[in-house]
């Protein structure tokens, strides 16, 4: 009797669930974007995760920014692009612009240069949790306002630097009246923060402001995350979703022919689904409108083959700004000879790696500059081809022979007979890197080099690179649409403390890098970039592998869903609901 009843209850419950599940789907002007994990916070200046940056960009605005479709600067809060001036005597670079007269906060007050100054202080002041961002803003030394024009301002940078323009206009402008109602930051000028940093750090008013500003409510409470952008923060269900709502009567509505003012959906919903299978299932069930960062295997095998999916979604593969590479320790006695490094490059079957491991979703790269950066990219460089015979010749020229007949080539280095063994490290858990390394290992075996592929836990992997304690490793870099500053990775000053793990560089390349950093003229800088790529290619510090393509599925419910190279590869605010829906 008991089991009978249980069965009945169970069946009824199941039926109820099915009915409940069926009545769910509605066509709404809302975009649901898949995210793999919850973000850290929505404080517009303290956040650290990339996702938070995307959401904040829908709620806050900068002075100017890069249009990802054209990779050109466009004015946002500024009326027009700023006037760039360089004072060579004082070594000051200035950007002068005027704010749009229509620009308003939610309370109807206009956005003023005082708000801009306040925002810059958020990136520079002590006690605020801005440590990661602070070094970048050392560049901004002052902001000049003009009493005769309340909307005009000049941002002063303390040196000639290619990234100055993106730093000076790229930060978000935040309303003082929300974030500093007591006007405590009025007590400290930008100049004071530059010169009396330690003193301000101990100031009770600074501590009071920063404790409040760092607090939870400015990270995730509605009413405390307020910007001038088209979307307002609506809701954050921890670990599940973040919802942004379109503002009614937003001041920027009339500019919606400009890229950064496009804001068509009523709601943007960022839905966390941790498990890839679950996310794909949700996508197929049309519970998601956008899914990005889809695993290549799933993208090719599950999505591209499904008619149902292709009927409902566009499957986009824009190229990304990232590239992967094998790093070679140039100061290791085995790799000191450039011919050896060239031989290793000839042993890397990049086409096979892209085809087998990347499912063909990528493009080979020939150097550190992304092909999309037209002008800067040097298309005359041909990457090292996969050529075992050539590699044998090069190794023999460099003195590597199998003298003891054990199948592994060897050489006397500093009087010691050294067998050619390579320890190749990658971050544990990244199976596609392991598989690429195994393809390399197999080719090396054919010339008598023994490669040991070793996984390392992420923090150890990074620490060993910092200590230059590696022979070869599999790494990747992600670029940005701004001009590349090669210093972090390629300058010899970055060997200790920077990211020049492989010991690349000499006086000539250092000079090139320094010239690139301070050359504001695009044409001249592009020439330098092209020279620089040749220098990198010739020295073979890295074996450049490929630039993976993004894998993005976007619902056909929407139009105007163009994808682009800049992460995350799409802009959900531009989506327009299709007419036929």
């Amino acid at each position: 009797m008991n089991t009978q009843l249980t069965k009945k209850v169970f069946v009824m419950a199941l039926a109820a669930l099915v009915l409940y599940g069926c009545g769910k789907k509605k066509e709404k002007n809302e975009v649901i974007v898949h995210e793999l994990s919850d973000t850290d916070m929505l404080n517009p200046t303290n956040y650290q995760s990339a996702d938070a940056g995307y959401y904040i960009a829908q709620m806050f605005q900068g002075l100017w920014g890069t249009n990802p479709r054209t990779l050109e600067y466009e004015p946002i809060l500024a009326k027009a692009l700023p006037i760039e001036e360089y004072d060579s005597i004082k070594n000051l670079l200035t950007y002068t612009c005027e704010l749009r007269e229509e620009a308003k906060w939610d309370n109807g007050e206009p956005i003023t240069p005082a708000d801009v100054i306040f925002s810059i202080k958020m990136y520079k002041a002590p006690v605020i949790s801005n440590e990661p961002q602070r070094p970048y803003f050392e560049l901004i030394s002052d902001v000049i306002t003009y009493p005769d024009n309340p909307r005009k301002l000049t941002i002063v940078c303390n040196k000639k630097y290619i990234l100055a323009k993106s730093v000076a206009g790229g930060f978000v402008v935040i309303p003082r009246y929300i974030y500093d109602p007591k006007n405590l930051m009025e007590n400290f000028s930008i100049g004071d923060i530059n010169t009396k940093f330690a003193e301000i750090e101990q100031d009770a008013r600074m501590k009071e402001f920063a404790t409040e500003y760092n607090s939870e409510k400015f990270q995730r409470d509605s009413g405390y995350i307020v910007g001038s952008g088209p979307y307002a923060f609506d809701q954050w269900v921890t670990g599940q979703k973040i919802v942004l709502k379109k503002k009614k009567n937003w001041w920027g509505e009339k500019f919606n022919n400009e890229y950064s003012y496009e804001a068509f959906p009523d709601k943007l919903i960022y839905q966390t689904i941790k498990d890839q299978t679950a996310a794909l299932t949700a996508l197929k069930g049309k519970r998601l409108d956008v899914m990005y960062g889809i695993k290549s295997k799933d993208f090719v095998e599950q999505l591209q083959t499904s008619e149902e999916v292709k009927k409902n979604f566009t499957l986009n593969t824009p190229l990304s700004m990232a590239y992967t590479y094998f790093g070679i320790n140039m100061r290791n006695p085995k790799f000191e000879d450039v011919r050896v490094r060239e031989a290793l490059a000839h042993l890397t079957d990049v086409e096979k790696i892209i085809k087998v491991i990347g499912y063909g979703l990528g493009e080979r790269v020939n150097g550190p500059v992304n092909p999309y950066k037209k002008g800067a990219f040097n298309d005359t460089i041909t990457p090292y081809d996969f050529n075992i015979e050539k590699s044998k010749v090069l190794l023999a020229e460099a003195g590597w022979k199998d003298s003891n007949g054990d199948g592994t080539i060897d050489k006397k280095i500093n009087g010691q007979q050294t067998e050619f063994n390579i320890t190749f490290t990658y971050n544990a858990g990244n199976d596609s890197r392991r598989d690429a390394a195994l393809i390399f290992k197999e080719a090396c075996r054919q010339v008598g080099i023994n490669v040991d592929v070793v996984p390392q836990e992420w923090s150890i992997y990074l620490e060993n690179q910092n200590k230059h304690d590696f022979e070869m490793y599999y790494g990747a870099w992600i670029g940005s649409p701004n001009p590349d500053d090669p210093k972090q990775i390629w300058h010899t000053e970055s060997i200790n403390g920077g990211s020049n793990y492989v010991y690349f560089g000499n006086a000539e390349t250092d000079k090139l890098i320094e010239d690139i950093r301070s050359e504001l003229d695009d044409e001249k800088r592009n020439n330098l970039y092209r020279k620089f790529q040749v220098a990198v290619h010739d020295a073979v510090p890295y074996i450049f592998i490929w630039s993976p393509k993004e894998r993005i599925a976007i619902s056909k419910r929407f139009t105007n869903t163009e994808t682009f190279i800049v992460r995350p590869g799409f802009n959900e605010a531009s989506f327009k609901l299709s007419q036929n829906n």
């Binding site: 419950a13 669930l17 599940g21 994990s37 919850d38 850290d40 916070m41 404080n43 303290n46 650290q48 995760s49 002590p126 006690v127 949790s129 440590e131 990661p132 602070r134 070094p135 970048y136 050392e138 501590k207 760092n214 939870e216 809701q235 921890t238 670990g239 839905q271 966390t272 941790k274 498990d275 299978t277 679950a278 996310a279 299932t281 949700a282 197929k284 069930g285 049309k286 519970r287 499904s306 149902e308 100061r331 923090s459 990074l462 620490e463 230059h468 992600i478 670029g479 972090q488 010899t492 000053e493 970055s494 060997i495 200790n496 403390g497 920077g498 990211s499 560089g505 000499n506 992460r567």
Partner: protein, 515 residues
């Protein structure tokens, strides 16, 4: 006969009640008190061990926090970055000694931990181990730093630029090496390199000063110090004290809002990653995990108990053996696989779309109770089934075993001999007694209440404590790890205590009083 039976029965119950209260009276009460007192040192040791393990693990949270956002950006001024790093370490308290005191040797230094770069700390630590004279080593490090900055600050021109690069590279190596052979070679290189250009006199002098400082380490080595033990007293200004008691004032109003109050005053700190108070992060996950765990336990018992009984009754039948095999098969199927399969087949329009593949639903505060309840039930149904199936085998075997024991007892035979129907024998006489072992197992579920299931939470994107703990470990979020560990420890201890008490209450043969 009948009236007598009723009389004895009621009499028995009365007596049972009395016995129950008698049992939790003095001896047991004293026992509980003693156990709770033992909690204090146990928790203390657990917290200390966690602390030591965390600090010994590779990786540096301050470094991770700074580099997380710079993956996309560009490196900037070395000095500015170093300053940021130093400040962050200070803010997080990572530049403090770990505990009040440390058993070391006289060679060890108390200021080594303040050196901001991890690689450098390791190099210096090795030198200290080898030569045992911290003052000289500290001086050497200072000289080396001066040398590094003078190289960076030297103005480049066509004559010295090559030399400068070589110098920088060599200095970078000096910073991470401690073996005498390597260092001697490096100093020879440095001297050669600084002689390459005429305008590097200043650097040359600094190279020499550094080498002198290094040779002083060797000549004034005090290796014996390594063998002289020392108790190094750090006072209350240490990481452990800061975490446990906090730095804020105990009496009166604290004026500095940046100081924490410490674990025992209910301030669990600020998460390194989300920068939220640990308390609210945990609270967000806690109610979900508790809700799911309780529901799972209820489901497990509701299914397993009748199942176990039915198996015991039909012992040896085809039903019994068939069911046993089936249960063991389910028991051996891993949750992550079944979960993935369930999502793949039961949530997808390609097959049968019954359940949602993720989350806890979209109900908001404004929605009515029934909508909220329905939404939650709809989303939780599949995760709950997945979470509970594996325990059916274990629990039902337990139930079957204890039922069989009871069924073999004399009083059951008596009951049967009296001619009571089998139904009555089982449900009135055997059932209650056979439940006892199952009840005590319950206490062992306590830690799971807070631990949650990482796999389940991951598969269905349920933002519970399991996920939070896992993320904290991956992100080296020290305050989160510590708080989670402490609460898990407390619940485990309480769980064991409850289970011990239940044993005593349930089984008269177990007593905790001294004989």
């Amino acid at each position: 006969m009948k009236p007598v039976e009723i009389e004895t029965k009621s009499g028995k119950t009365e007596a049972g009640k009395k016995v129950f209260f008698a049992r939790i009276s003095f001896p047991l009460f004293g026992y509980i008190l003693k156990r709770i007192l033992i909690f204090i040192p146990t928790l203390f040791i657990i917290s200390l061990l966690t602390f030591i393990l965390i600090s010994a693990a590779p990786g540096d949270p301050a470094e991770t926090m700074l580099s997380r956002s710079s993956s996309e950006g560009q490196a900037s001024d070395k000095l500015a970055t170093e300053r940021s790093y130093r400040e962050l370490r200070h803010k997080l308290g990572l530049d403090l000694p770990i505990f009040y005191f440390a058993f070391t040797n006289t060679a060890q230094s108390d200021t080594l931990i303040r050196i901001p770069t991890k690689n450098h700390r390791e190099m210096l630590d090795r030198l200290v181990y080898e030569y045992g004279n911290w003052p000289q080593i500290e001086n050497y490090y200072h000289q080396l730093k001066t040398l590094e900055f003078s190289i960076i600050a030297t103005k480049k021109d066509s004559t010295n630029v090559d030399a400068l690069i070589e110098l920088r590279n060599t200095v970078a190596k000096v910073f991470i090496h401690h073996q005498d052979v390597v260092l001697s070679a490096l100093f020879t290189d440095l001297k050669e390199q600084s002689a390459l250009a005429p305008n590097l006199v200043d650097i040359k002098a600094k190279v020499e000063a550094t080498e002198i400082a290094y040779s002083k380490i060797k000549s004034e080595a005090s290796v014996w110090k390594r063998y002289v033990p020392k108790v190094q007293w750090s006072g209350t200004h240490n990481q452990y004290h800061r975490w446990l008691f906090g730095e804020a004032r105990w009496v009166g109003e604290e004026t500095d809002p940046t100081l924490g109050k410490g674990f025992i005053r209910g301030d669990y700190g600020i998460s390194f990653f989300t920068k939220r108070p640990v308390k609210s992060v945990i609270w967000d996950g806690l109610w979900i995990t508790m809700l799911i765990s309780i529901l799972v336990i209820v489901i497990e018992y509701i299914i397993s108990i009748p199942l176990g009984i039915s198996l015991a009754i039909r012992k040896g039948s085809a039903y019994d053996s068939g069911m046993t095999v089936a249960l063991f098969i389910t028991y051996s199927l891993p949750v992550f696989w079944i979960g993935t399969m369930a999502i793949f087949f039961l949530c997808s329009p390609d097959y049968i779309e019954i359940f949602p593949p993720f989350g806890l639903g979209d109900a908001t505060m404004e929605d009515g109770f029934f909508y909220k309840f329905g939404d939650l039930a709809y989303h939780l149904a599949l995760p709950l089934i997945i979470a509970s199936y594996a325990s059916f085998a274990y629990l039902s075997r337990q139930m079957r075993g204890s039922m069989l024991t009871v069924l073999g007892a004399d009083y059951i035979r008596t009951a049967r001999a009296k001619g009571l129907p089998e139904n009555k024998v089982i449900w009135r006489h055997a059932f209650r007694n056979s439940l006892l072992p199952i009840i005590t197992i319950f206490a062992s579920f306590f830690p799971a209440l807070i631990g949650g299931s990482i796999i389940l939470e991951f598969l269905f994107t349920i933002p519970g404590l399991g996920q939070i703990t896992y993320a904290a470990v991956i992100q080296k979020d020290y305050p989160m790890i510590l708080t989670n560990t402490m609460f898990a420890a407390i619940l485990t201890l309480v769980g064991y205590l409850v289970s011990d008490i239940l044993y005593a209450v349930v089984d008269p043969r177990i007593s905790y009083s001294k004989k």
